[in-house]
């Protein structure tokens, strides 16, 4: 009885994951290879013919966003760890976290107004004299999507990275500082190499999140080229075309899978 109690208590929750996650995932893989009730690659050739541009666009946008998130997180974490002005450090610590808990759908809306032609971004630049009113344009294309992703994901990765940096052994940092190394050099040569694993975990999690967000591309830029998620929604709403939607889903799984594989390989090499 005692030995059965544990598995018994976990089973209902596991069943929910099985029925409402694992089975639909399997159905999406099977459905991708199903054309008019027979097995075939028709969905993939159609997806390739119609959406190659969007697939490349998605990979580039998410890759660029992840790169920017990584750079900003290291900069924020680095300043929080190595900054010498306590007031500036406290201010930054208070400041950078704000977007983290803001839902994606709200991020899409606030950045759509901010980056529009008449948004606060342009009007501030104009009133500072940095931008000519006649040449003001909207940023609601790939730049808007990247901005929304970076805005929302940086705090999360920066939180992980700065946590890892805070738990580092300070003595090597102090030693390098005493020998006259600049803070930038300490960050690049001593701090970052020791938090690579945390940084990569954060970036892989961010990458997966960005690959599956539907609201941001729908709200900021749903014209061509757009992201795979918006294409999937369009395929279903307009044509009820489950085959091509599932093929596109599998392609986005493959992109995520290759990133996860890359991460695991780097991790294995470090462990050796």
């Amino acid at each position: 009885m005692q030995r059965l109690l544990g598995p018994l208590l976990v089973t209902p929750a596991l069943l929910v994951i099985l029925v409402l996650f694992a089975l639909p995932l399997a159905a999406s893989v099977i459905g991708a290879f199903e054309v008019d009730g027979a097995a075939g690659l028709g969905n993939f050739t159609k997806a390739y013919r119609l959406y190659t541009q969007d697939i490349v666009f998605t990979a580039l946008i998410v890759g660029l966003s992840a790169l920017l998130v990584g750079l900003l997180s290291v900069a924020i974490g680095g300043y929080l760890t190595l900054g010498e002005n306590p007031r500036a450090v406290a201010l930054l610590r208070w400041l950078y976290r704000w977007p983290m808990f803001i839902p994606f759908i709200v991020v899409g809306q606030v950045l759509r107004t901010f980056l529009a032609k008449s948004g606060l971004f342009n009007t501030t630049l104009i009133s500072l004299g940095l931008l000519d009113p006649m040449s003001a344009t909207s940023y609601l294309d790939w730049r808007g999507i990247v901005a929304a992703f970076v805005w929302k994901q940086t705090p999360f990765v920066a939180l992980m990275v700065s946590g890892a940096m805070a738990s580092l052994d300070r003595s090597t940092i102090e030693a390098a500082r005493n020998l006259g190394a600049s803070r930038l050099r300490i960050l690049v040569e001593i701090v970052v190499p020791q938090v690579t694993t945390t940084l990569l975990v954060g970036l892989v999690l961010s990458f997966v999140t960005m690959m599956s967000v539907l609201s941001v591309p729908l709200m900021i830029n749903a014209q061509t080229p757009t992201m795979i998620t918006a294409d999937i929604a369009f395929r279903l709403n307009t044509y009820r075309d489950y085959g091509v939607a599932n093929a596109l889903g599998l392609i986005s799984l493959a992109i995520t899978g290759s990133v996860a594989w890359f991460y695991l390989r780097v991790n294995m090499r470090q462990a050796q």
Binding site: L14, G31, V110, S118, S212
Partner: protein
């Protein structure tokens, strides 16, 4: 020239000079973080605003009246969103409290694998999954129902619920339970009177997490709920797609308030000792 800059500039002056880039950097960051939020707040009270005006031409609350009109969609979707989120919390905790207790305290084969299984829904792009859930629900008549949306949200929220509940139970001192048992309490009594009250702040945190995740969830509701079940995120999307920035911004503000409030109080509920045990 070089002699001047290296000899006559004292460390104190150098420190003062650093103020400029530091203030500029923090100012830029503050603008990039609060600028979009300010833009949204202005839209909620703008009556008329178009290019090239830097600020609205007329201010007013007429859109608030329209949003909260008795027959307006907003009140209806606010009620729908909150009821779905509450049902999701009940469902998730009913599954996560027993599972979390078992993962924290009882003998389980393959404990690590089970803990990981709850993470899997977060580790895959979930759009293909929602697409096929919608297809399945369509066949069994759950599409466009509150039950269907709640089931999707429960699956999505289960990782937070199970992981935080496990950490909360693991942080409870086992000796206190044993003391209660020694004094003659039954296993169930010790669980109800000792373990649950001690784990309550952590369970509360997981409930809030699940509540917010459900309140903000867009993709699953879009495929499974729309257009019959209209949650706040769906209303925000359709108002924005229709070009009504005022209604979209007011809805965004409604969604924003609980999230920001949670950010400000999260450290009270999630104590460091519980947080350190998440995922272990």
């Amino acid at each position: 020239m070089t002699a001047l800059s290296s000899a006559s500039v004292s460390p104190r002056t150098v420190d003062l000079l650093w103020w400029l880039p530091r203030a500029a950097g923090l100012g830029l960051l503050a603008f990039l973080i609060f600028g979009p939020l300010a833009n949204m707040l202005i839209w909620t009270v703008a009556e008329r605003w178009y290019f090239p005006h830097a600020l609205p031409i007329d201010y007013g609350f007429s859109y608030w009246g329209r949003v909260f009109a008795p027959r307006g969609n907003a009140v209806q979707s606010l009620v729908a969103s909150i009821s779905i989120a509450l049902l999701t919390v009940v469902g998730s905790l009913a599954l996560a409290v027993p599972a979390g207790y078992a993962l924290a305290r009882l003998k389980l084969p393959m404990r690590g694998v089970i803990l990981l299984a709850f993470l899997v829904p977060q580790a895959f792009p979930n759009l293909p999954v929602y697409v096929n859930i919608a297809r399945l629900f369509y066949e069994i008549g759950l599409n466009g129902t509150v039950t269907g949306v709640v089931l999707v949200h429960v699956t999505h929220g289960l990782v937070y619920a199970v992981w935080i509940a496990t950490a909360a139970f693991a942080a409870v001192d086992r000796d206190l339970e044993l003391a209660a048992r020694n004094l003659g309490a039954s296993a169930l009594r010790a669980f109800a009177d000792v373990t649950v009250p001690l784990a309550a702040p952590g369970l509360m945190a997981s409930a809030i997490f699940v509540f917010l995740e459900s309140l903000d969830e867009f993709t699953g509701s879009y495929f499974v709920g729309a257009p019959d079940v209209l949650t706040l995120p769906l209303l925000l999307y359709s108002a924005g797609a229709g070009g009504n920035y005022q209604v979209a911004s007011i809805t965004a503000l409604l969604l924003l308030v609980p999230s920001i409030a949670f950010m400000l109080v999260v450290e009270k509920f999630l104590r460091a000792d519980v947080l350190a045990k998440v995922g272990q």
